[in-house]
């Protein structure tokens, strides 16, 4: 399996108001391959979201090496980060973060537009992924008219659109009830496998283990354990 995401000895320090330096990540190393599903677990404040932000090219590491889809991320070239996000990464957020004024289909199509795909090609791709998440009959609904589960499925469709090799999900089931959360995870896993995407899910939810190939545990900014999912 081809490795598409690599972190080697990644650390991240933040400077606080009084000049104190807080180390949020301390020498984290991990890798993710196409078609692989990894769950990243850890308590609040353990550094999960910071790691996700670095792997998602939203933040840069204070030290260490990050390679995304073959391109090494450099803190010296922050202007390059949006282009890498555009090309290689699809995000799914805890709060769905759909645009309220756009229909389900337009939400996906707009993400494709941002990635540079426009016109009929973008529409076709948007229709394909909306169909893949089983919401063709809801494509013209505004987010306010969709249930939580449906919103998250549209968010997944948006992440899948454009063939980004890496999918990063931040607590994708946190705002869903247990049954719907389970269904969304199953669907997410199936689509990631089918489309050969690498999927990293940051979560508190133990159900995620059931769909993951590997489980990583982070504590106090360090990867504490790694193992195969139960």
């Amino acid at each position: 399996m081809k490795t598409v995401l690599e972190a080697d000895s990644v650390s991240k320090d933040f400077r606080e108001g009084r000049g104190d330096v807080v180390s949020v990540l301390r020498g984290v190393s991990l890798s993710l391959s196409r078609g692989e599903i990894v769950s990243l677990e850890g308590p609040s404040g353990s550094g999960k979201t910071t790691l996700l932000s670095i792997l998602g090219c939203i933040l840069t590491a204070s030290s260490g090496r990050v390679v995304v889809d073959g391109e090494e991320i450099s803190a010296d070239r922050p202007a390059r980060l949006p282009a890498i996000r555009k090309k290689s990464i699809g995000f799914v957020f805890q709060q769905f973060n759909l645009f309220p004024s756009l229909t389900a289909l337009e939400n996906v199509e707009y993400a494709l537009n941002i990635k540079g795909e426009k016109g009929a090609a973008a529409l076709r791709e948007a229709e394909r992924v909306i169909d893949a998440v089983g919401l063709s009959d809801r494509r013209d609904f505004l987010p306010r008219d969709l249930s939580g589960g449906q919103k998250q499925r549209i968010a997944i469709a948006r992440a899948l659109a454009g063939k980004s090799p890496i999918l990063l999900a931040d607590e994708p089931t946190a705002n869903l009830d247990s049954q719907i959360g389970g269904q969304v995870l199953e669907m997410f896993r199936a689509l990631a496998k089918k489309e050969d995407r690498a999927l990293l899910i940051v979560t508190h939810d133990p159900k995620v283990r059931t769909v993951a190939d590997r489980v990583l545990r982070i504590q106090d900014g360090r990867l504490a354990a790694e193992g195969l999912a139960a």
Partner: protein, 379 residues
Amino acid sequence: MAVDLATKSLLHDKLRFLITVSGVAFAVTLVFVQVGLFLGLLDNASVTIEHIDADLWVTSRNTPNVDFAHTFPDTAVKRVRSVPGVERADNLIVWFVTVNLPSGAQEGSLVYALEDFSRWNIPWNVAQGDLADLKRGQYFFLDDSAVKRYGSFQVGEYREILGQRMKIIGRTKDARSFTTTPISFIDFERAQTLNPQSLQGKTTYVLVKLAPGADAAEIAAVKAEIARRLPYNDVYTKKEWATRSRNYWVQSTGIGLNMYITVFLGCLVGIVVVAQTLYTSTMEHLKEFGTVKAIGGGNLDIYRILGKQASIAAVGGFVMGALMAYAMRPAITKIDLKLIIPPVFVAIVFVGAVVMCLAAAMISFRKVASIDPALVFRG
């Protein structure tokens, strides 16, 4: 075609959109009405100059505007007529007189006196009467705009001008002065006898018509020659004299400053309303803009959204504001004012509205530039 997030997002909250557009519309209406009224008033300041068919005006030295005339010997016209290139030249008296009204009140009138009105296209809009009859006796034409200050009047009625009983034998339209003093038209010699102490043997202007087809160089040459022969007078082209007359009111009174201040305040109100609503909208959509950044968009993508929203607000506000200004026109005409909105001014206001809204959006640009896409991970 790309998904138009800017328009959809702007129209999603219709009330906010209406408030934004109304702010721009208010500013646009204010500018149109204020400047339109100003131009209407200025038009009155030079409307007679524009209509009189003269290429050059000879005035007494330093006459500030057409209404505030000073006298000089009426024989000057002979020297003007002798200048090569002059086709014809006539004396024109413009003089302020008092008129006794039947009510016992006294009002002012601005008399225009010529030997032959028909040769100079003044008055240019005769509603009733024959100008040739002015020479037949103690007669005068009165413009309809006098109704507001004199009360209604009919042809055949008499009014006392400078103590002399004179008959109204005609009515004109559209002859206005900047000060709204009603204009009356009297035969030149009769005007001199109305106030012999000031006007006997005097005129206030000499109107000059050059041979047909005279070009700018010829006009300048004749002008220079008249100025040489009449060293104690000033000579202006029609355009120069109209500009001088208008500029007097703009520069020597508070009206110009008043207009500039109102236009400035109108623009300020527009900018503040648009900036405030766009900024509030930006703050409320921070997470959406963070999402745009997270999915790979840059500041430029968000600037485009805000820029487009500001432009839509500008166009919507401009259309609404212009329609409101045009809708006010009949009411303004009813109170004897003119709202002049030339096409070039419409274009200027349109560009101004767009620039104003884009400037207002710049405030939001600064906020957007500082958006951390990591905020999308916050619950």
